[in-house]
Symmetry: C2
Subunit: 438 residues, 2 copies
Amino acid sequence: MKDKISIVGAGLVGSLLAVILKQKGFEVQIFEKRTDPRKSKALEGRSINLALSQRGIKPLKLAGVYETIEPYLIPMNGRMMHSKDGDLTYQPYGKEGQFINSVSRAQLNQLLIESAEAAGVQVFFDHKCKDVDFKKNFIVFENGSKVESDLIIGTDGAFSAIRKKLQITDRFNFSQHYIEHGYKELCIEPKDGNFRLEPNYLHIWPRGNFMLIALPNNDKTFTCTLFFPFEGSPSFDSLNSIEAVNSFFKEYFNDALELIPDLADQFFNNPTSTLVTTKCEPWNNNRSILLGDAAHAIVPFYGQGMNSGFEDVRLFIEKAEEMDWDWDKVLPSYSSMRKKDADAISELALHNFIEMRDHVGDPSFLKRKKLEAQIQEKFPADWIPLYSMVTFSDMPYSEALRLGKIQKKIMDDVLKEDNPESKIDQAISQFNALKKVD
Amino acid sequence: MKDKISIVGAGLVGSLLAVILKQKGFEVQIFEKRTDPRKSKALEGRSINLALSQRGIKPLKLAGVYETIEPYLIPMNGRMMHSKDGDLTYQPYGKEGQFINSVSRAQLNQLLIESAEAAGVQVFFDHKCKDVDFKKNFIVFENGSKVESDLIIGTDGAFSAIRKKLQITDRFNFSQHYIEHGYKELCIEPKDGNFRLEPNYLHIWPRGNFMLIALPNNDKTFTCTLFFPFEGSPSFDSLNSIEAVNSFFKEYFNDALELIPDLADQFFNNPTSTLVTTKCEPWNNNRSILLGDAAHAIVPFYGQGMNSGFEDVRLFIEKAEEMDWDWDKVLPSYSSMRKKDADAISELALHNFIEMRDHVGDPSFLKRKKLEAQIQEKFPADWIPLYSMVTFSDMPYSEALRLGKIQKKIMDDVLKEDNPESKIDQAISQFNALKKVD
């Protein structure tokens, strides 16, 4: 097992994968276009935070790095919804003891890069990929160096350079689709050294066509993210003055406004970012393959971008072990197994935006969630809510999507009844029958 | 009207557009990455031929070039289906006097480039686009030259360099999707100076998952095109020996095999090509815009690739005249008007492959076509078959698609009746009602 493996992209997925492949005995190198974040501070600060859950935790444990990371996690037990009047409604994510974890992308990335280096992986920063020869299996970098490998893995994110090279090979299907919304991050500073909102929740201000969310950070700040249309009214376009921003927040997010005294400064100084879904096929070409966002970038509304990328790593390694590291078999086999699941989480993530921004505040949505909790409590082995299948299990995403669609239809019917609670047994038999038939 | 317009791509759409814009008084230049085909012979010979119909003819007349082109056209009145046994079935494309026209891409392109030059357009060959600055409105070519313009138009085809530059601008949606089939061209030579098949038809050998077609050329040859899966059995993969090719043709296309004595030579010497659909949005960015395949490449099965591109030219010019050549208004207005029609013909073209390869030989399909002809004859003002709406009219493609879907549903219902002919009046009232409601 002396194969030489080149990983392009030292992000979360690439660095985790490097740790495991090195442990398996391979010669592993990572090439990253950016400068070492420990030297440049580029990745530090309050960049976007992520929600680590089951699918991400399992591969971290497989790599033996979870214990290093655990101290940096902040559990979030459920959603805390903020109404326009500042009323709070709590909705747990799952059963007692089930939670997701807020973690800083920058911190997690640094821990993983250090774990890779500690394991003996060579990490080359300032290496921007210029070209790939998929037939002869080498990469050329913009600094002139050329690297031959037995295996090339592209983990270089939504705008992957490796994927751009695949895109001009024959019969490569590709799509990039931006949603009509962008996002802007805003920071809630601590007060007297304390969090200014309850820390163990994901806070949501659902407002129909847009929303604000807030996740806790280790330094007692919250990172708020406004998901907002680029055009229309209101939109990033229409909020074009300090007055417009302040009066908009006063109307829609008044309790948050009070926690961000320098709102307008942040609003006009912080960038407005886009949200893209990318799909492509095939992920593999000869001895090269894409993993994580490079293969399937998704919108962040199910909190599954990083988790699905880490799960890619676990499934890739499992498939490789099963096939005795015969890459010519592993690459197509892994890709054809995983593609439908990447498509499924892509669809789920787009749909969850509508749920988060538009439905979570609804009385009818809360009624639905409450009934579903009752069903789950009565038949815990039969009925697992969709959110839990995605977040707290590692069943294939495509299976979660399929079951979720059946559940939705049954719930729609039951909720039309005068006394939905009396129909729970009937709903379960129907569900168990349909589960198999499909 | 002294605006300087740069057109990138001297293909069919670019050269026709140049003729018209020059006639309108603009300073027009075309930049083409290839060498002048008149010098290189690269475009000559028996390259793919096209089917020119109403949507393509109208803009050629607008440009005053139709009379130059007409002598090169060969009318095709309908489909001539070849069964496995060599039996022929004829199906007219439309009413008496309606036909489509076989024309060589290379010949037509040369005539249009010459028309552009005759009109005073400068055509620069060997100019490969390297970069575009959409803000400052200039193009840089690989030979080092830099051209500033008031308007940049990308008519550089399915793999457009201009579109590749747009693809890395923010919020540009893009997809490229290859179908599972490729194609290979084969030539039927004349015998004793005559066509070896009846010339005024588009010949089809429909065989379920694949098909062969043949279109007549001016030199009395036919260009045959085999549309065939890349993988599976049979496929381009599986036909890997002279014996395999000959026995496959003997089984499926025996009457064609007799007309191509050097079949295996041609089969292994001619390239196998892919079939791609591309979509993107927005087509315009500041003072740049995409037209034709660069904006919307489609599969060839409705014979509308060139026709839709020429129609783009007509609609773009009409919109520009309507808006008094105010490009800042024309570009977004044309794009938002035309996008839904490009999407519609893209869908229709993919669907027509299934019809051509799988249904046209069916007795039930022929029964449907016959009934539809009866409806049309009885109510010519009310019911125009989908093929005719697409091919012999210039109603928006999206409207043709919408009406075609209503027609299909009505036909499905009527054909379930014992005596479908007796239901024609009923079908028409239903159609006229649904047409409006939608």
